[in-house]
């Protein structure tokens, strides 16, 4: 059942559950930070509306910099602002930033230890009809090997706002991963945001499988867990909001408790959350695993639901994976 202590959305399993894109939470987060701290500045590369920078730009025009379609320039300008005491947030689609400007970020932000927050929008195949060119599905893999970077992939819009504010209030480079599509609201304003502590959203008396999910896939995992319960299959669902630094202790603890593990992400399983968990468990507690996510393929154009269904990123795929593990 849902972990009552975390004050999650009680209407999570309703058919008409409230939905919002995580990018909306980002927009609210930067606005609040902007009011709090005059050192917070925002930069965008011709995508201020879809990356939810517009309100910040209106409210704080002196602290908003339009860079045009130039993601490398945007990243390095942010580095210059940060080494001069500012707290810059750079926004574009993840494919372009930190995709196109990967090396610029590596050198001028990460190695430079500049206090820049990289907001990557339109992550995952739920980006939908724009197609593969705009669906970031390798971003986690490509940034997580950087030393010293913090990576957050919020599960819903409310958590996205909290994660944004957290990143702005804490020193160091952060990569924040947001999606375009409206996804169900899982948490509430009262749910505590714990940066590097994994939270268990769904608990059972005697769980047989631990489901580790990140981003909007947490919702699919919760629905799968609820349906599996009706078939008397007990699992637990952990929300992996922070991918780096990862809460290794909790991962090992939960793997030991359940013995079997499923990972769920809207990203390639190679190098993403699946890779992260597998690396830890290979060393600490080798466990049978199933991986939900893109598997060595690109997706295509389509609606979010169609794509999640076709590429196996939905509740049904998770249920199948759980059953497969239990039968092993």
């Amino acid at each position: 059942m849902l972990n009552q202590n975390l004050k999650l959305n009680p209407e999570i399993f309703d058919e008409n559950v409230e939905k919002a894109p995580t990018r909306d939470g980002f927009g609210k987060g930067i606005l609040e930070l902007g009011k709090e701290d005059k050192n917070v500045v925002c930069l965008s590369a011709d995508l201020s509306e879809s990356t939810r920078n517009e309100e910040f730009a209106k409210k704080f025009p002196d602290r908003y910099f339009e860079c045009g379609v130039a993601e490398q320039n945007m990243a390095a300008i942010a580095a210059g602002l940060a080494v001069s005491g500012k707290i810059p947030f750079i926004s574009s689609y993840s494919v372009f930033s930190p995709g196109k400007n990967w090396e610029t970020i590596r050198t001028t932000i990460i190695y430079n230890n500049a206090n820049v927050k990289i907001a990557g929008h339109h992550a995952g195949i739920v980006t939908g009809q724009d197609g593969v060119t705009h669906q970031a599905t390798e971003d986690i893999a490509s940034v997580r090997a950087w030393p010293n970077v913090n990576i957050i992939c919020p599960c819903d819009s409310i958590e996205a706002k909290k994660a944004t504010i957290y990143s702005g209030q804490n020193q160091g480079p952060f990569y924040l991963r947001f999606s375009r599509e409206k996804t169900p609201i899982i948490t509430t304003n009262e749910t505590k945001f714990d940066f590097n502590k994994i939270q268990i959203f769904w608990e059972s008396q005697n769980p047989k499988v631990a489901i580790f999910a990140t981003g909007h896939m947490v919702y699919q995992a919760l629905v799968a867990a609820d349906e599996l319960k009706k078939e008397n299959i007990e699992v637990l669902v952990a929300n992996i909001t922070t991918l780096k630094p990862i809460d290794e202790q909790t991962i090992v603890k939960l793997a030991k408790k359940c013995g079997k593990v499923v990972t769920c992400e809207d990203h390639q399983t190679e190098g993403g959350l699946g890779g992260i968990i597998a690396e830890i468990l290979a060393r600490e507690f080798p466990s049978p695993m199933e991986f939900i996510g893109l598997k060595n393929t690109f997706a295509e154009s389509g609606t979010a639901n169609e794509l999640m269904n076709k590429y196996g990123l939905d509740k049904n795929s998770i249920k199948t994976a759980v059953k497969k593990l239990i039968q092993k």
Partner: protein, 274 residues
């Protein structure tokens, strides 16, 4: 400018070149031609033009120098040491294990290094960020960016040129090391840059061409112009790569290698007379 001051700066440039040859020979690798060619500009900056304080490298009102073509860092390291940011002796540790003098400059390793650079085309953008922060904080510092001519082949550099032109960043000065060489050969053969001056004018910059090995011209130009313009300033400094060492001058093969002991002795002999 004052004759004694000019003589003093010329002596410093000569001393910097000798230190450069010694440190590069000791390191056994690194870039020689660019740093020798840029010695006069770096000496003019660190010992006359820049507002800075080696005892307080993070002084808030200091002028900022962002080195974009990080591979010529030996001349920056040399000038920082000569200005007492760290002991001259430490120059011998260039590129060695446990040294603060990284092969390409790293901000957190050494006092006086404003930012990290090496991959080309990223410095002007960073200098723009530093400039914007100064405007937000109502500071009067000037940001200098030093860039190579070869790195003008990077798209990122032109993204930055466009941004600075649009935003009329008149407290930003970029000095282009126009020495006509890059690793593979002559810039105009690898990928032509001319007409460079006209390109900057079109992008809404003020542009001046100078002899980058003439200290008097460097200082007079910068002092006379940079506080009287309403646009970002590009100084296209024509320099002789390998300047001061006859067998290195204008030879692109010295772009990315260090002298051996014999070559160093010959170079030091030539530089002793200058």
């Amino acid at each position: 400018m004052d004759k004694n001051k000019l003589l003093e700066l010329k002596k410093k440039a000569s001393e910097a070149r000798r230190l450069l040859i010694k440190m590069l020979t000791e390191a056994g690798s690194g870039h020689t031609a660019g740093p020798l060619g840029m010695a006069d500009i770096f000496v003019s900056l660190y010992f006359h033009l820049l507002k800075h304080n080696p005892k307080d490298p993070l002084w808030k009102d200091r002028d900022r120098l962002v080195l974009s073509n990080g591979h010529i860092c030996p001349i920056q390291y040399t000038c920082l040491a000569m200005a007492n940011y760290f002991p001259i002796e430490e120059l011998k540790t260039l590129r060695k294990i446990n040294s603060r003098l990284q092969g390409h400059p790293h901000r957190n390793s050494l006092p006086g290094i404003e930012t990290t650079s090496g991959p080309l085309g990223e410095g002007l953008s960073q200098a723009i960020g530093v400039t914007l922060a100064g405007i937000l904080d109502k500071k009067n510092y000037r940001t200098y960016c030093i860039a190579s001519d070869g790195e003008h082949q990077e798209g990122n550099h032109w993204e930055a040129v466009m941004f600075a032109g649009k935003n009329k960043l008149n407290n930003l000065t970029m000095i282009v090391d126009r020495n006509n060489i890059q690793i593979t050969g002559n810039t105009e053969n690898v990928m032509p840059l001319e007409p460079l001056k006209e390109k900057y004018i079109t992008f809404n910059w003020s542009v001046f061409e100078i002899d980058g090995n003439n200290i008097e011209e460097i200082i007079n130009t910068l002092e006379n112009i940079q506080n009287h313009i309403d646009k970002p300033l590009a100084i296209i400094a024509k320099t002789i790569p390998g300047k001061g060492v006859s067998f290195m001058e204008n030879d692109y093969l010295w772009h990315g290698k260090a002298p051996n002991k014999e070559e160093a002795n010959q170079a030091l002999k030539e530089l002793a007379d200058q």
